[in-house]
Amino acid sequence: MSEENKELLDDLSGQIMTFTCSGETYAFDIMDITDIIEIPEITKIPKLPEFLLGVINLRGQVVPVMDFNLKMGKPKEEYDSKTCIIVTERDKASIGILVNRVLDVEKVTKKDIIPYPKKGSFIRGIIERDGSRTALIDWNELVGLEKK
């Protein structure tokens, strides 16, 4: 692993939460997650890209919600009882990410992660285990905020 990539993954907490979307497995670093909730009523807001579904009321806070499927360019899937919203917070701004199904919390170490070669992608790295692949999401890139 190159020095640069080591640095990139330095802030990993060692635990990830995996979820599925269109048959593939993705993961968030558990430190990025503040909440996992069922889908409440989503208030639509006009003039937003399709993947931004609108806003929800999370304990009095207005939180925007994005559909992970649509964000990844996949077709929309019907919501069911397993569908939920993962809430993350950065710089005091929360965002909810709607995913089909949360799978598990797993332990990882840095050496489990194969760095992803493409710059500017949502994916920080790939974890290969027992023949299945999990893509670790870069929160900042996903949300599309300017990195400070």
């Binding site: 639509k44 006009p46 931004l52 929800i56 009095g60 207005v62 925007p64």
Partner: protein
């Protein structure tokens, strides 16, 4: 530094308001000793804090006024021209207020108050001249050596003093020749007196000598050359009168007062002497700032003089320097940090004089610092008792029942409380409760208690932000006073209900509109004394400002007992300017009077300093409307006019009309909605793009199309039409149905959404409603502007 500036601005502003109050009160009354002392105190404080902030111009201006009042305070019988003095004082107050704005704006240079200062000094000199003639003589001819040393002079600039023989003719020419001769060996930066071509400089040179500032490699050569000039008596190098950098070293041992060093001092304790320049104001404060600034790099054990809060320490510091005892790892860093301090001339380490050498040095200064010797015991004791870092400034243990809080914090608190109130109603009226079969009695009781408490909390938080409206009113006394001076109308300003409390932000908004309205009332409303006499009015010309509450609104009124407005004249003028929108006979009185608030309308034939340019009232109206307020005009010809401002009590909560557009929940601020109605087929024109209503033909838009949401085909006669008026642009919007008439707290969109330029497209924010659902607040002005722009293309 930023925080210090804030405090300075806040304190100085309140001091100046205090000053204005006193001046207004005493202008036509006797100036009592208490008032004199108060003005003196205000100026003294501004002088001090101004100097501390490095604002020499403000500090010096305040100083000159302080001097003036010193004379009055010391000798109450002194005679002076009171009106002239008040003009100067008001001018000072205005200049200082103005400067407060300037210092908050980085792009502006500090103002030079020299002219005003000279006027004040001249005034003080005249006063002194009458009171004590002998003093004024010595005062005017005094020559201050320090004045030829600017504070920012580089170290390498040398100053030579050349004295000419008394019988020397044309000293200015001699001086010019000398300066020119120096050209080969030195670079001359300037002279004092500065203008050698000016004849009056000659006398000055003969009296005080000629000072030449230069940079050179060889001081001796320059002095030699000067010495050999014609008629030159003597040429010598002079230095800044304060304990300068060059000779400080030599003088150091001799000047250290007894008591700086004690016998039982630890060896690793070092002593630093800081010398300030002579002009330095409030050396004690400077000292404290320096000591505090050292906190990071050194442990300060004590200072000499020991008590920096004591005023007498200031003189000692100026004379012998400030001694700071400290322990540090890095002597150089300490010295560097001290040297950077304001007004600091030099900072150097001083060594404890040898026991044997001390007696030798002592006699040299034993005569002068007798007092320090007496205090010598103190620092020694203090050092023994407190080896830990000792902060000499920490003695301000005054308790006060008032604190000042940043407005942002209160805003945050208000936001939170609004959230709590909404969350509370969500909990109490939660739909889940319907499914609970058991007895809810205790829950109901607790929720009633909770509601009572949150209501109270909300009231308290709102009240914290409340300030009496007199803050805004009292500024008007000044406006009326100034206008009385120029217009000679002798108007009396009366306040009613000035103790009425309103939100701080409202008072800030009120300032400008009130100023305009009051000016108008005095300038246009009140007649000249002759006119009043002609119309048989005997009551004194009066402008009344009143304040009060009326159903959730603050009502501020400005009433005058002047000429009132002539309905016909207004309509005629309106016709001339082409701003009438309907036949004259249809205008109600109120509508006719409201014409003066239309843009480009002024009935006063003569434009004066105060009003009549035809901007003014429409700007006032717009300002008030921008915060959801309203402005009304009433008038009776011959009896006077009343301007009434109504502003909602709180600005953070707005009244909105909730509408449903194809499943989207939007809220339109009620202050832009003119009316709501259902369309009938005969109103619609031009493929449903125009609508006739009340004799107006207005553009009609489907709300759904404006935001590009589905819901295209619903017949226009089926829903509701909103007639909106945003700053004069009118348009109609079609929505599916009305949801509710409600109050909301507007929250801006989170950054994640605002990056899609929602605000630019007429969406100003969201709000959580009482039932937990979310609504999007529309900015109708933005929407109408965008639509008009698009149609234009």
């Amino acid at each position: 530094m930023e925080a210090m500036l804030d405090t300075f601005v806040f304190e100085t502003s309140s001091l100046l308001e205090e000053l204005d109050d006193i001046l207004m009160r005493t202008e036509n009354d006797e100036l009592l000793p208490d008032d004199i002392a108060e003005i003196f105190r205000v100026m003294h404080t501004i002088k001090g804090s101004g100097a501390m902030m490095g604002l020499q111009n403000m500090s010096k201006l305040a100083h000159s006024v302080e001097d003036l009042f010193y004379i009055i305070r010391e000798d109450n019988s002194v005679k002076y021209d009171k009106p002239a003095m008040y003009e100067l004082l008001f001018a000072t107050s205005d200049s200082l207020k103005n400067e407060i704005d300037v210092i908050q704006d980085d792009s502006q240079e500090l103002t030079d108050f020299t002219e005003l200062m000279n006027k004040i000094r001249a005034f003080a000199a005249v006063m002194k001249g009458e009171g004590a003639p002998a003093e004024s003589d010595s005062g005017s001819s005094g020559f201050d050596l320090a004045s030829i040393f600017p504070e920012d002079e580089p170290e390498e600039v040398m100053t030579a003093k050349v004295t000419f023989f008394e019988e020397c003719m044309m000293p200015t020419i001699r001086a010019l020749i000398l300066v020119r001769n120096l050209g080969d060996i030195a670079e001359v930066c300037g002279t004092y007196p500065p203008d050698l071509n000016d004849d009056s400089s000659g006398a000055e040179i003969l009296k005080n000598g000629l000072f030449i500032k230069f940079v050179t490699d060889s001081n001796e050569a320059v002095l030699d050359k000067l010495q050999n000039g014609i008629d030159v008596d003597k040429a010598e190098l002079v230095t800044r009168p304060a304990a300068g950098a060059s000779d400080a070293g030599a003088a150091a041992a001799g000047n250290i007062p007894a008591g700086v060093f004690s016998d039982d001092e630890p060896e690793d304790m070092v002593t630093v002497r800081v010398t300030f320049d002579e002009e330095c104001m409030m050396p004690c404060i400077r000292g404290m700032i320096l000591v505090r600034g050292l906190g990071d790099i050194a442990e300060v054990c004590g200072t000499y003089p020991p008590d920096l809060n004591d005023d007498s320490s200031g003189d000692k510091i100026l004379k012998d320097g400030l001694f700071i005892k400290l322990m540090t790892d890095d002597n150089n860093a300490v010295i560097e940090s001290l040297k950077k301090g304001l007004n600091v001339v030099n900072a150097e380490l001083v060594k404890k004089p040898d026991k044997n050498a001390a007696p030798a040095a002592a006699p040299a200064q034993a005569a002068t610092p007798a007092a320090p010797a007496a205090e010598a015991a103190k620092p020694a004791e203090a050092k023994k008792a407190a080896p830990a870092p000792k902060k000499p400034a920490g003695s301000g243990e005054k308790t006060s029942s008032i604190i000042s809080v940043k407005l942002e914090k209160l805003d945050k608190l208000l936001d939170l409380v609004a959230e709590i109130v909404i969350t509370e109603s969500m909990v109490i009226s939660s739909p889940d409760l319907k499914n609970v079969s058991g007895n809810l009695e205790r829950f109901q009781k607790s929720s009633r208690d909770l509601k009572k408490l949150t209501d109270e909390l909300q009231d308290v938080v709102m009240s914290i932000r409340m300030v009496p409206v007199s803050n805004a009113f009292s500024k008007m006394t000044r406006v009326v006073r100034d206008m009385n001076k120029t217009l000679g109308k002798g108007v009396t300003l009366v306040f009613e209900g000035e103790e009425t409390e309103v939100d701080k932000s409202i008072v800030d908004i009120l300032n400008d509109p009130l100023m305009h309205i009051v000016r108008n009332a005095v300038d246009h409303g009140i007649e000249t004394p002759d006119e009043r006499a002609a119309s048989g009015k005997t009551d004194p010309p009066t402008v009344t400002l009143s304040a009060g509450y009326d159903s959730g609104e603050v009502v501020i009124a400005c009433r005058d007992n002047g000429a009132g407005m002539d309905r016909e004249k207004l309509l005629a003028k309106g016709r001339k300017n082409g701003i009438l929108t309907k036949p004259e006979s249809e205008y109600t009185d109120r509508e006719a009077f409201s014409l003066i608030m239309a843009a480009g309308f002024s009935t006063n034939e003569v434009v004066t300093e105060y009003s009549g340019r035809g901007v003014g009232m429409d700007v006032v109206r717009k300002n008030i409307e921008s915060v959801g307020g309203k402005l009304y005009v009433d008038s009776t010809l011959g009896e006077g006019s009343t301007f009434t401002i109504k502003i909602p009590l709180s600005l953070s909560i707005i009244d909105v009309m909730g509408i449903d557009v194809a499943g989207y929940n939007f809220s339109v601020p009620k202050n832009v909605i003119v009316e709501l109605f259902r369309a009938t087929p005969d109103m619609l024109m031009e493929n449903d793009t125009l609508i006739m209503r009340r004799g107006m033909c207005l553009p009609l838009y489907r709300m759904s199309r404006v935001f590009g949401v589905p819901g295209e085909n619903k017949p226009l006669t089926d829903g509701v039409i909103l007639l909106c008026d945003a700053n004069g642009s009118k348009a109609c919007f079609f929505a599916d149905r009305l949801i509710a008439d409600q109050q909301v707290v507007v929250k801006p969109f989170s950054v994640l959404l605002s990056q899609y330029k929602l605000k630019e497209q007429g969406l100003s924010g969201c709000s959580v409603l009482g039932d937990g659902s979310i609504t999007t607040i529309l900015d109708m002005k933005e929407i109408i502007d965008t639509l008009e722009e698009r149609e234009g293309k």
